[in-house]
C-alpha cells in the first residue's frame, strides 16, 4: 500500500463543508436502531461546539426505503424530498444535513436529476404546491452528518478524553471503516475522499488516534440491500454479503468497525450473531466478535461519554472488551439500567 497515492486521491476529493447553520434531518431507522447516535450528534455540535443545528418534528421520511424497494415512483419520492427542502426554507436555513446515508444519496441524486432535467424540478414544485401549498429553495449545501463530524474531527480530538489506542501497549487500534453504498458510490465527487478510497471515516479515526486497515472487500455492501433484507426469501443473500465481508477482514484482525450508514452497523453487528449460530464462526481475536459503532458513538467514546449513555448496550456484539482495551471506564451493573 502506497499511502501517498491515497493521499493524492483524497486531496482530489475534498469538499468545502460549512461548519455551522444546518437544517438537520434524522434517519428513519437509526431512531430505532441507534437512537442515542442522533441525540449525541446534536448534543456535541450544539453543546460542546456551540454550533447552530436546527431540527423540526415536522420532517418525515425521505422515502428512500420505499424508493429503493421499488414501491413508489420517482415523482413521489421527489415530492417528499421537496417538502423537506420547503421545511428548511421555511426555517431559514440554506445548509441541509442528513443523518442517513440513503437520504444523503437520494438528495444528491434528486438534485443532480433536477440539474439535468429542470422541467422535472418545476413539475415537482408544482406537485408540492398542489399538495401542501409549500415552496422551497434547493439547499446551498448538502451534507451528510459524517461530513460535519469529519469537518469537526480535530475540534473533537482537542476535547477528547480517550484516544483510539490500546492502553496496554500504546499501539493504535486497528479500525475497519464501512462507508455505506449511498454515500459516494453514486456520486464520487460528493463524498470526502471519493468512492474508491473514501476518507470521511478514515479522517476521523486518524484524528482520534486509531489506524485504518484496508481489506479486499472494503467496498462491498454490508448486506442490507433493502430488497435483500426486507424479503425473508432473500435474507440469505443479505447474510452472505456480510459473511463475505467478515471473511475478508478477519485476517487483518481488526479491533473495531466504524460505520457511516443507518443499516450497516445494524447488519454488521447483528449478523455476527447469526453467522455464529449458523456457521459456528466468531470473528474477532478474543472470541467476542468485532464490535461495530456508528461514527457518533466513536466520537462520543473519545469525548468521554458514558458507554451506556451512548446506547452501546443496544449492540448485539459486546463492546466491553474494546472499552477495556482503550481503558474507558464504565459500570458493568448499569448496562441495562438506563
Amino acid at each position: 500500500m502506497i499511502l501517498n497515492g491515497k493521499k493524492k486521491i483524497w486531496s482530489e476529493y475534498q469538499k468545502d463543508i460549512p461548519e455551522d447553520h444546518y437544517f438537520y434531518v434524522r434517519s428513519c431507522i437509526r431512531q430505532n436502531f441507534f437512537p442515542a447516535s442522533e441525540k449525541l450528534f446534536l448534543e456535541v455540535v450544539r453543546d460542546r461546539l456551540s454550533l447552530d443545528f436546527f431540527e423540526t418534528e415536522h420532517h418525515t421520511t425521505c422515502g428512500g426505503i420505499a424508493y429503493h424497494s421499488d414501491t413508489i415512483p420517482q415523482e413521489t419520492v421527489m415530492t417528499i424530498v421537496a417538502r423537506q427542502f420547503a421545511l428548511m426554507t421555511e426555517a431559514g436555513y440554506k445548509n441541509y444535513v442528513a443523518s442517513c446515508i440513503t437520504s444523503f444519496g437520494l438528495y444528491t441524486e434528486i438534485l443532480d436529476t433536477w440539474h439535468h432535467f429542470p422541467e422535472l424540478e418545476s413539475k415537482i414544485r408544482d406537485y408540492l404546491w398542489k399538495t401542501t401549498k409549500r415552496e422551497f429553495q434547493k439547499p446551498e449545501y448538502l451534507a451528510h452528518a459524517s461530513d460535519v463530524v469529519y469537518k469537526l474531527r480535530n475540534k473533537i480530538a482537542d476535547q477528547a478524553k480517550y484516544k483510539l489506542v490500546n492502553k496496554e501497549n500504546g499501539e493504535p487500534l486497528k479500525v475497519v471503516e464501512h462507508i455505506g453504498c449511498h454515500y459516494s458510490k453514486m456520486f464520487p465527487s460528493k463524498g470526502v475522499g471519493g468512492a474508491e478510497y473514501p476518507y470521511v471515516l478514515t479522517g476521523m479515526i486518524e484524528a482520534w488516534g486509531g489506524e485504518i486497515v484496508d481489506y479486499p472487500e472494503r467496498r462491498h455492501c454490508c448486506g442490507f440491500g433493502f430488497r435483500q433484507y426486507l424479503v425473508q426469501a432473500n435474507r440469505g443473500y443479505s447474510l452472505s454479503n456480510t459473511h463475505k465481508k467478515f471473511e475478508s477482514m478477519a485476517p487483518f484482525k481488526p479491533d473495531m468497525i466504524i460505520t457511516n450508514c443507518p443499516g450497516c452497523p445494524y447488519f454488521l453487528d447483528r449478523w455476527q450473531y447469526v453467522i455464529k449460530e449458523m456457521e459456528g464462526t466468531t470473528y474477532g481475536q478474543d472470541g467476542n466478535g468485532i464490535p461495530v459503532f456508528t461514527y457518533e458513538e466513536v466520537a462520543g467514546l473519545v469525548l468521554g461519554y458514558d458507554p451506556w449513555y451512548l446506547g452501546l448496550q443496544m449492540h448485539q456484539t459486546p463492546v466491553e472488551p474494546l472499552l477495556d482495551k482503550i481503558g474507558i471506564r464504565y459500570n458493568k451493573e448499569e448496562k441495562y439500567l438506563l
Partner: protein
C-alpha cells in the same frame, strides 16, 4: 514561397515526416517539447507483433533526419499567418517563417491513476504497460519475479467515465505481446489477460494471440476488471466477471499490468486553436475528409500526421507521416 516546413512533434510521425520532406528538398524544423526525439517510442522496448527492437527502429528513423533542425524542450507559443506564410514564435523566443506546418503531436498515455478502482499508485503490485516496457528495457529483475500476473485491457479506453469512449487500438496486441514476453522471462508465471474484445486486427496479431494461448498458456478472461484490493499478504485481489460463463470471478495476483490507452494529446486544444482547426468530441484533431485524406485540415498549408488524429499503430503512423510530407509537397508545388 520558401521551402521551409515546421513539424510540431519529434516522435516517429514527426521524424518520418521530416525525413520525407528532406528527401523532397525541404528545410525542416522540428519542435519537440521533450529533451530527446522519439516520443513514446523512446520509452518502449520491443514492438508488436514481431518483437522488433524499439530503439533500433528509432535509430533507423533518426539516421535519415540529420538535416532536420530540432528544437528540444521547446513548444510553439504563437502562430500567425501572414499571406501564405506562417510566422511562429517558440517558447525560447525563436521566430520561424515557414510555408507549411505538419502537426505530429501524437497522443498522451492515459493516466492510469484516474481509474481509481485499479489502485495505480496505491497498490504496490499495480503497474502500467509503460512501466512494464520500461522494466523490459532496463532489465528490472524484481519485476519478473511475480508468479501470478494479470493484464487489464482497455484501461482508459472504451470508457465514458474517463471521457475516452474510443478504442485505443494497440493495447490488445500490446498486452498479448507483453504477456508473452513476461512468460519468456518467467516461465513459471501464471498469466491472465482481462479483455472485453480482443481486437487482433493486424497482420501477425492473431498468430501472436494463438501463440499466447497455445505456447505460453496465457489465460484470457473476457470481462473488465471491476476492482482491485490488497489482501493481508499485500497480494492483489482482482475481481471481474467471466462474461463467457456469466459468473463473477476473483483471482489473487502478485502483479497487475494496466494497459493504459491512447488519450488525446493534452495540448490538442491549444494547437488546434492556434491553427484554426477543430478537435472532435474525443479530443483528437478533426479531419474534414477522414476517408479520402487523413492528413488534410481546414487550414491551407496545415497538415496532420499520426496519432494526433486518433489511436494508430506505428506503421500506420509512419505511412501517414510520409503521406503528410507528400501533401506538403503537393501544396507547396501548386
Amino acid at each position: 514561397m520558401n521551402k521551409e516546413v515546421l513539424v510540431i512533434g519529434g516522435g516517429p510521425a514527426g521524424i518520418e515526416c521530416a525525413n520525407s520532406l528532406i528527401s523532397l528538398g525541404y528545410k525542416v524544423f522540428i519542435v519537440e517539447k521533450c529533451s530527446e526525439p522519439g516520443g513514446h517510442l523512446r520509452k518502449w522496448d520491443r514492438l508488436f507483433p514481431y518483437g522488433v527492437s524499439a530503439s533500433d527502429t528509432l535509430d533507423k528513423l533518426l539516421q535519415k533526419s540529420g538535416k532536420a533542425i530540432f528544437f528540444y524542450d521547446t513548444e510553439v507559443q504563437t502562430i500567425n499567418q501572414v499571406d501564405e506564410k506562417f510566422v511562429i514564435t517558440l517558447s525560447d523566443d525563436t521566430q520561424l517563417h515557414v510555408s507549411s506546418i505538419v502537426v505530429a503531436t501524437g497522443f498522451t498515455l492515459f493516466p492510469a491513476a484516474k481509474k481509481e478502482e485499479y489502485g495505480y499508485g496505491i497498490y504496490n503490485g499495480v503497474i502500467t504497460n509503460a512501466d512494464l516496457e520500461d522494466g523490459f528495457k532496463t532489465h528490472k529483475k524484481e519485476l519478473f519475479k511475480a508468479n501470478r500476473v494479470g493484464f487489464v485491457h482497455c484501461v482508459g479506453s472504451r470508457d465514458e467515465k474517463v471521457c475516452n469512449r474510443h478504442c485505443s487500438k494497440v493495447c490488445c496486441v500490446t498486452a498479448v505481446k507483453q504477456a508473452c514476453e513476461y512468460k519468456d522471462l518467467n516461465p513459471d508465471a501464471e498469466v491472465y489477460c482481462f479483455y472485453m474484445d480482443l481486437r487482433m486486427f493486424g497482420r501477425g496479431y492473431e498468430d501472436l494471440y494463438l501463440k499466447a494461448q497455445n505456447k505460453y498458456g496465457i489465460r484470457f478472461i473476457r470481462g473488465r476488471v471491476s476492482e482491485v484490493a490488497e489482501d493481508v499478504n499485500g497480494c492483489l485481489v482482482v475481481k471481474a466477471e467471466d462474461t463467457l460463463t456469466s459468473r463473477p470471478l476473483k483471482v489473487t495476483l502478485d502483479l497487475l499490468v494496466l494497459m493504459s490507452g491512447m488519450s488525446k494529446n493534452d495540448d490538442n486544444d491549444k494547437i488546434a486553436d492556434m491553427l484554426g482547426i477543430k478537435t472532435e468530441e474525443d479530443g483528437f484533431l478533426s479531419l474534414p475528409e477522414p476517408t479520402l485524406n487523413n492528413c488534410q485540415t481546414v487550414t491551407d498549408g496545415v497538415f496532420l500526421a499520426g496519432s494526433v488524429t486518433g489511436p494508430k499503430t506505428l506503421p500506420e503512423t509512419l505511412n501517414e507521416a510520409r503521406a503528410a510530407a507528400l501533401s506538403v509537397h503537393k501544396y507547396l508545388s501548386r
